[in-house]
Each structure stands twice: as C-alpha cells, then as structure tokens.
Symmetry: C2
Subunit: 223 residues, 2 copies
C-alpha cells in the first residue's frame, strides 16, 4: 500500500514541523539551529534534510502554516448571520472573537518573529497582514455595508470605517504585547471590557443618530 509509507513519512514531517515551530518561535531564524530542531523532533538531522531542502525552506513552511492556520481559525467562531441582530451585538461578537483568537502567546510570538524578519523575508509580513488584519477588515466592511443599507450605520466608506474599527479593537493590545511580551496579553475580562469600549466609541461616531445611543461613558463592568 502506498499509504503505509506515506503515513510514516507524514509522521516524521509533522514531528519536524512541530519541533521547528517551537525552536523558530523561541530563537528566531538566525538563532535557531538545525541540530536542536532534529533533536526536539526526535529525528535524525538527515531526515530533516530529506523532508526540507534547507533551513530557509523549513522556516518558510513553518511560518506559512501558522499564518494560514490562524486565518482559518478566525471566522469559524462567528458565523456572519448579520440580518437578525443589532449592529452593536454583531460588532461586539466580532471584536471578542478576534481578540480571543489573536491574543495568544503563540500568535503574538509569531507576529514578533515575522516583524523581526521583515528585512530577510518581506513576503511573510505581507502574508500575515493579508491573512490576518485584512481578512478581518474585509469581513467587518461587508457587515457595515449591510447595516448601512438597513439604516443603522451612517453613510460612509465601509472599508475605511472597518479599518478604524479593527485598529480600535486590536491596536492597543497587540502593540502592548509586541513590546512588553506575553505578560501584557489581556485577560478574558480585560479583553471583554476593551471590546465593549471599542464598540461603544465606534458606534458613537458611526451609528445613525436615531440609533446612536453612545451608552454610558464607563463601559459595562466586565470583571
């Protein structure tokens, strides 16, 4: 059977990718070393090179797999049934979903690495941007267009507004985490509070006046 060998091959491949992910995330491209990847994968160095032509190829495959995986995760949680619920609820759900998926040590470290390696591998930065922020922004833009048609959102450029919304939600936490490390990653309750506050501000600027209801300045305590 062709599949027997293929299974064995795939097992090795996956062990290597998992080990490489750990090592690269921890040490960066230059800091990582192929011997330690082989060791961590419990595989001979030769096998590593049988699967991946070079350190660079392995690195690229690891990173692309991670960015792709993250992109697939976002959006699985919030199905876009816009029609039946108010803008505020939809935006809040999207904000919480995005924050929950992205604000994890693993993805924050991926982001740090990609940013740090931008000089050597510019395509990784672009790929992360297009699989991450851009996807989210497009999704929100579609939703805003919908709510605009329903008269719940003021007339504006949906893409521009969605961009604003995206960074109101993600800006503070990601930037803090980039520079301050994983300890700056917000807790679940902080994350909820932040999401509500961002939605409140966004709607006070973009909701239809009738519907504007900026709500209390102090967000609902989410502790």
């Amino acid at each position: 059977m062709v599949n027997g060998a293929s299974t064995r091959v795939r097992r090795s491949r996956e062990k290597i990718l998992a080990a490489a992910e750990q090592v690269f995330l921890h040490a960066g491209f230059l800091g990582a070393n192929m011997d330690s990847i082989a060791e961590k994968a419990a595989v001979s160095k030769q096998t590593v090179y049988a699967h991946f032509q070079s350190k660079e190829v392995l690195f690229l495959e690891v990173i692309e797999a991670m960015t792709g995986g993250a992109a697939r995760t976002i959006g699985e949680n919030v199905e876009d049934r816009l029609d039946d619920r108010p803008v505020r609820d939809y935006l809040t759900a999207v904000a919480i979903d995005q924050l929950s998926v992205v604000m994890t040590p693993r993805l924050m470290q991926l982001r740090r690495m990609v940013i740090g390696e931008t000089g050597r591998f510019p395509e990784l930065g672009r790929s992360l941007y297009e699989n991450g922020p851009l996807v989210s922004i497009r999704r929100v833009a579609r939703a805003l267009a919908h709510y605009m048609a329903l008269g719940q959102i003021r007339d504006c450029d949906p893409f521009g507004a969605a961009t604003q919304f995206n960074w109101m939600v993600m800006g503070a936490p990601t930037n803090a985490a980039m520079l301050l490390g994983d300890s700056a990653i917000p807790s679940r309750s902080e994350l909820h509070a932040h999401a509500h506050e961002a939605v409140r501000i966004f709607l006070s600027a973009y909701a239809m006046p009738a519907d504007a209801g900026a709500g209390p300045v102090v967000p609902p305590a989410a502790t």
Copy 2:
C-alpha cells in the same frame, strides 16, 4: 588639554555608533557583524572593542540612544499650552505631531528590530514602550484631565481615554508599517486625514454632549 584627546575619542565613538546603528537596523543583532561595523565606521576593529566591550554592549547602547532620542523629539514640537485652545485643535496637533515623528523609516525599523529581539532583550521592548507610547499617553491624559475640568470632555478615566486615543491614532499606521514595510508609511496628507478622522471619532465619544459636534462623517478633505 584633556579635551583634545577626549575629542578624538568622541569622534571615534560617534563614528562607531553611527555605523553600528546602520548595520544593526539593517541586519538585526545576530545578522550584524562587527567587521562590517568597523569597516563602515572607517575604524579598526580593535578601536571598536576599545570603546565597547562586546557586540551586545554596543547593540544595547545603539538602541537605547535611539529610543531616548526619539522620546526627546516627541513633545518638543507641541508645547502643552492647553488653556487657550479648543480640545479638537489640541488633539489634532498632538496626533499629527506624533505621527510625523514616529512614522519614519528609521524609527519603524527600530521598532521592528526591538520587537524581533524581544526574546533576547526584553528590556529594550519595555524601554521603547515607556519612552514612546506611554509618554504620549500620559501627556494626553494630563490634557484630557484639564479639558475635563473645563467641562469640554465627559467625565471619564483620563488615562484610559488617552490610551484609546493613542491607539486610534497610531494603531493602523504602525501595524501596517510593521508588517508591510516602509512602503506602508503614510504620506503627509494621508497622515493628516487620518489624524483628523481619529480626533473626530474620539470626540464624538468623549466630548461633552453640548460640545459634541461629531462633525461630518466624512472628515475635512486633507488632501
């Protein structure tokens, strides 16, 4: 004269620091190499080591100098005479100032490097955060407290509001530049438009109702 020798020493030192800045920014800590720093500084390798004990020490001095320098630049431009002008003007000026200072290839590359080296040198991240975002946020927080006392801003936590403001202004451009490279740095006119839009949204949520005047949804064309 003590100063003669000291001048010679300082000239070398400065040449080395300038060269090291270039090389480190371009290649990162591990990617940089001391021979090329010496060469670029037009100085012998020995002299480099006479001034800085090791690559690591040199690296730290370069980065600390850059972060400190940037911190000093911000705020030189906008003197904080709050009393006499409306919130909107003050916030707009601050936003444009910050964007102008921070959104340069050199500082964006510094930020990328520091983020990338966070694992090896966590203190650099903290230092950049405290010399950059935190300083700006504190400044805006002070101003907001002032305007709150004047009844132009709603009652709220000034620090929290200032944090929101900061990332509404800086979030989108920095994040894009981090991942997409210097070509994503906004032009002067984009930067102005973005600043106005951020202030508009912020004020529609935080200005006193009487004074709220969210203004038109479409920001004043800043082209």
